[in-house]
């Protein structure tokens, strides 16, 4: 404990001696942490969004007019029994009309002139996650179509295919890019810290010359690296939050709701802490690298 406060004192002593250097490297590290955080933020949100879309992949079966209650029930059971079907929801003609009214809003006036309800009743069929693939969906849709009482089936084949492609691009590209970015940030942060230490080789030399052990020399530098990393993590998060505020105000909330019901959200507390921990680890890494090198010389 006493030892720790002693080393902390020495750390601040060192920092005071190299303030311009430390400020520059702190800023550089913060900026690269910001870049990483902003990317993680966007990627996380887009991924959540696509998952929300994915959950919405459904098959709609439009029923023939005037189907009785028992027939609907039997049909529902038969659909539910099909492999890959998760849940079936019955939308009556009235409900269908109400849905359309709600969606159209003000422009729903023309519906008032109708003699009879033109919208068919339907079954909304949601699928097991494993079956949300274009080929499976088509199979299920064809099965449903062949059932008695089903007039037509709709599932937007082209859209589903496109969507699957987008998903796979977002996944592959996103993780690949994220990984590249991560490597880049690791590199920038640890290099910057090494750069700021390189200028202090002389300091290390002097300490060795007067008989300091490697541990004695290293600890304050390690503490400095960790502090620097943590500080840049916090600053990076703060800047990313500023970016988040700017973007979430510019993009309509309604837009995001329309796109999938997920709000554009910031990191959770756990994720934020993880990011700061990561930054601290990088700071430590940078100082470990540079000191190992500095101490190798006589």
């Amino acid at each position: 404990m006493d030892r720790l406060t002693y080393f902390l004192r020495r750390t601040t002593r060192q920092l005071r001696g190299a303030s311009a250097l430390s400020t520059l490297s702190l800023l550089t590290c913060s900026v690269s942490m910001t870049i990483f955080a902003v990317y993680a933020l966007l990627f996380g949100n887009v991924r959540d969004l696509t998952q929300a879309w994915n959950r919405r992949i459904e098959v709609h079966a439009f029923l023939v007019d005037r189907l009785g209650h028992p027939e609907v029930q039997e049909l529902t059971h038969r659909v539910e029994a099909l492999p890959g079907v998760r849940e079936v929801r019955y939308i009556s003609k009235d409900e269908a009309l109400r849905d359309v009214r709600r969606t159209l809003g003000d422009s729903a006036d023309f519906l008032e002139g109708l003699d009879s309800n033109p919208f068919p009743a339907s079954l909304e069929i949601s699928l097991e996650p494993r079956y949300r693939h274009p080929d499976h969906i088509r199979e299920i849709a064809e099965n449903v179509r062949s059932l008695p009482g089903v007039e037509d089936v709709e599932y937007g084949e082209a859209w589903v295919r496109k969507f699957a492609s987008i998903l796979s691009i977002v996944r592959v590209g996103g993780y690949l890019l994220g990984f590249a970015l991560f490597v880049g940030v690791v590199f920038i942060v640890s290099n910057t810290i090494r750069l700021s230490f390189l200028a202090r080789q002389e300091e290390v030399n002097v300490m060795r010359l007067v008989g300091a052990t490697n541990t004695f020399i290293k600890v304050p530098f390690y503490i400095e690296g960790i502090l620097m990393g943590a500080a840049s993590g916090v600053l990076g998060l703060a800047l990313a939050y500023a970016f988040y505020l700017a973007v979430s105000q510019r993009i309509d909330v309604s837009l995001f709701l329309l796109l999938g019901g997920e709000r554009f959200h910031f990191f959770s507390t756990a994720e934020s802490l993880g990011l700061i921990a990561l930054a601290s680890a990088l700071g430590l890494l940078g100082s470990v690298f540079s000191l190992t090198r500095a101490l190798r010389q006589t």
Partner: protein, 219 residues
């Protein structure tokens, strides 16, 4: 305390900076090391504090064989040696006090003891009033005295002083010599590399003379 047998050393492919040096110093001895510029005085001292490994020969310092010392042992060797470097090697952004306290902090002395010792040694070298100045704010002679204070504050068994009076007037040089004499009297072995003829005349001691890397005189 110090024994050298046929020591040669050099930097790179050039002609060796030292060749076939042999001598020994008893515990408590005081010796000058002299010779023209570039003769190898600093190189010889660097071998003694293990900053340079001899190319051949054997070096014993305080019972340790420096030709074969492990990297991890060097700090402990250096803690028994106080060195005044020719170019001072101070931490320029840190204060005089912090610079002089360093060897004691390394040895893990308690804060109170560090304060007491550093304050008293700074008074001895005439820098009591400058203890809170950063090393880079000192005059040449003040830097040199800071380096001397740092070398002797830990009461080392061996003091190696490389040209410790080059930036000091004769009066101050005399005071520094008194100081070195005193710790020599207390039992420390002292080696002073110098060009200062006045010093050599004023304080007649054993004198090792180097020339072109060879030991040409020992009186």
């Amino acid at each position: 305390m110090v024994q050298l047998f046929h020591v040669s050393a050099g930097y790179g492919k050039d002609t060796p900076a030292l060749s076939e040096i042999s001598f020994s110093l008893d515990k408590g001895e005081f010796a000058f090391l002299t010779g023209p510029s570039g003769a190898g005085k600093t190189t010889l001292l660097r071998i003694l504090y293990a900053a340079l490994r001899p190319a051949s020969g054997q070096v014993l310092v305080g019972g340790r064989n420096l030709a074969r010392i492990r990297q991890s042992e060097i700090p402990y060797l250096r803690r028994m040696i106080g060195v005044v470097f020719q170019d001072f090697h101070l931490l320029s952004r840190q204060t005089v006090f912090e610079n002089v306290a360093l060897p004691l902090e390394i040895r893990g002395f308690p804060k109170r003891e560090v304060h007491r010792r550093v304050a008293s040694i700074l008074k001895l070298v005439g820098l009591g009033h400058r203890s809170q100045a950063r090393a880079e704010q000192l005059s040449g002679g003040e830097q040199q005295r800071t380096a001397i204070a740092r070398a002797i504050v830990g009461e080392p068994a061996l003091v190696l002083a490389d040209e410790p009076t080059g930036n000091l007037d004769d009066a101050l040089a005399g005071e520094i010599m008194e100081l070195l004499d005193r710790i020599n009297f207390k039992g420390a072995t002292v080696v002073v590399a110098t060009h200062n003829r006045w010093l050599l005349q004023q304080y007649p001691r054993r004198t090792l003379t180097l020339e072109h890397g060879r030991l040409v005189g020992d009186t």
